[in-house]
Amino acid sequence: MLDGREYRITVIGAGPAGAAAAISAAAMSMEVDWYDKENRPGGKLNDYHQLFPDRATADQILADFDGRTDAIEIKKHFGTAVNRIETDNRQLILLSDNKIVGSADAVIVATGFDFFDARLKEEFGYGIYDHVITSPDLEKILKTNPEDLRKEGADPVSIAFVHCVGSRDQQAGINYCSRLCCITGIRQAIGIKELFPSCKVVNFYIDIRAFGSGYEELYREAQEKYKIQFIRGRVSEASENQQHRILLKAEDTLMARPLKLTVDWLVLLVGMVPSCTQVQIDNHQCTDQETGFYQPVNVFTGSRIAGLPGIFMAGACGGPMSIPEAIASGRSAAMEAWQYLKDR
C-alpha cells in the first residue's frame, strides 16, 4: 500500500494525462490540488467525436474520468491557469498571473499541446477558402452537426485529407513527426464514408505511420472495406474554383506523375505543437530548444522535468502522444512523484 498521506501534490491540466495523474495521486492518499485554465475538465477530449483505434466516443472516456475524479478526494480549481512555479527551498509556489494561488511539495505538469496553426501553410488556403478545414475542425463538425458537410442539401462528391500539415516540415519549423495525424486521418476518412458512402475519399500521405495497437488494422479496413484511396504524395497547393470547390495539385510519387483532383472539402491533418499555456518554472529553460516540448531528465526512465526536483511532466506537454499513452504517463508521473517525496 502506497501511503502518501503527508504529501501535497498539484496537477496542472485536466486533460487525460492530468486526470490520470490526479486520480493516481489521490489513490495513494496524497493531498491533490487539480488546476485547469478551463472551467471544466477534459481538455481537448471535450471537442473530440471518436477515438482510434476502436472508435469509442470521447464522451465515454470523459464520463469515466468524471466518475473516478468525483469518487475520490481531489480539490478542483478549474478556471485557474497556473502559469508560473517558483521554487522556495523545498516548497513549490504556484502563481496565476503573478498572484500566488497555492503551494505544493511536488507538481505534475500536464498542460498538453496545441494544434499547429494551419494558416502558416498558406499554400493549403486555410483561413482563405471556406471549404478548407483542419482535422480538429472536422472533429467538431462530426461531433455536433455532420449535416454541415452537405452543400445545399447534397452529399459531398469528394473529400481529400492531407497528411503531415505542420509535421515533418522544416518550412514550418517542425522537424518531428506528430505520429497521430495519420491514424486520425484514417479514422475521420472512415467517418466520412459512413456518412456519405458514395463520396470519393482520398488521403494524400508521405508515409503512413500507423504505429499503435490496432492502427494498421484500421488502415487496412479503410482501404479494403471503405475503399478509401491513399495516394502517396503531398498536396503542393490548393486553390478555389468558381463553384467554391477546392482544386488540388499533387504528385503521385508511385507513378512519378503530377495529379489533379477537385474536392468539396479539404481536410488538413494538423500536427501537435507545444501548448501556448506552458508553465514557466523559475527562470529555467526546461523545454527542448528545437521542439519546444518539456524535456524529461531521462527519456527512458524519468518523467521529472530536466534540472527541476519535484516537478514532473505527463502527457503531450512532452511531445506528441496518444490518449492511452497520455493516461499511462499521467499514472507513472504520479508514481514517480510519490517515490521522490518518499525518498527526499
Binding site: V202, E224, R232, L254, M255, R257, P258, L259, K260, L261
Partner: protein, 122 residues
C-alpha cells in the same frame, strides 16, 4: 509540312493525372471480385519477385496501380502488358497483404477485351 521547318518539337498528351474525369469502371469491377486488392500498399514485392519483370518491362505493381488510377484504359494497354505474365504465382507468395495477385492478373486479362477469348474463365 512543306515550307515548315522541323524544330524537333512534338505534341503529346499531358502527363497530369486527372482524378476528376477518370473512368474507374474497370477498377471498381476488379475491386468487387478481388476485394483484398484495395489493401495494396505498393510495397513492390510482387514486382521484385516477378521472373518476367527481371527481363522485360513488365511491372505488375505498376500495372494494377495504373488500373486503380484509371490510367490508359482508353488505349487498352493492359492486355499487351499482361502478355508477359507467366501466371507463375510467385507474386502471390510474397504479398504481405495476402492479395490473390495471380487471380487478379487473370481477372485483368478477362476484363480487358483482347484476352477475353483467349483465357478461359476460371
Amino acid at each position: 509540312m512543306a515550307g515548315k521547318k522541323n524544330f524537333g518539337f512534338e505534341r503529346h498528351a499531358g502527363r497530369q493525372i486527372d482524378l476528376d474525369h477518370a473512368d474507374n469502371s474497370l477498377a471498381t469491377e476488379l475491386a468487387e471480385v478481388v476485394s483484398a486488392w484495395s489493401a495494396c500498399i505498393s510495397c513492390g514485392s510482387c514486382a521484385a519477385t516477378c521472373p518476367a519483370g527481371q527481363n522485360v518491362g513488365f511491372n505488375f505493381r505498376r500495372l494494377h496501380y495504373k488500373i486503380k488510377l484509371s490510367l490508359e484504359v482508353e488505349t487498352d494497354n493492359y492486355p499487351s502488358l499482361l502478355t508477359s505474365c507467366l501466371l507463375c504465382g510467385k507474386c502471390q507468395l510474397v504479398c504481405p497483404r495476402g492479395i490473390p495477385t495471380r487471380y487478379l492478373s487473370i481477372q485483368i486479362m478477362q476484363k480487358t477485351k483482347h484476352y477475353a477469348e483467349v483465357i478461359p474463365p476460371v
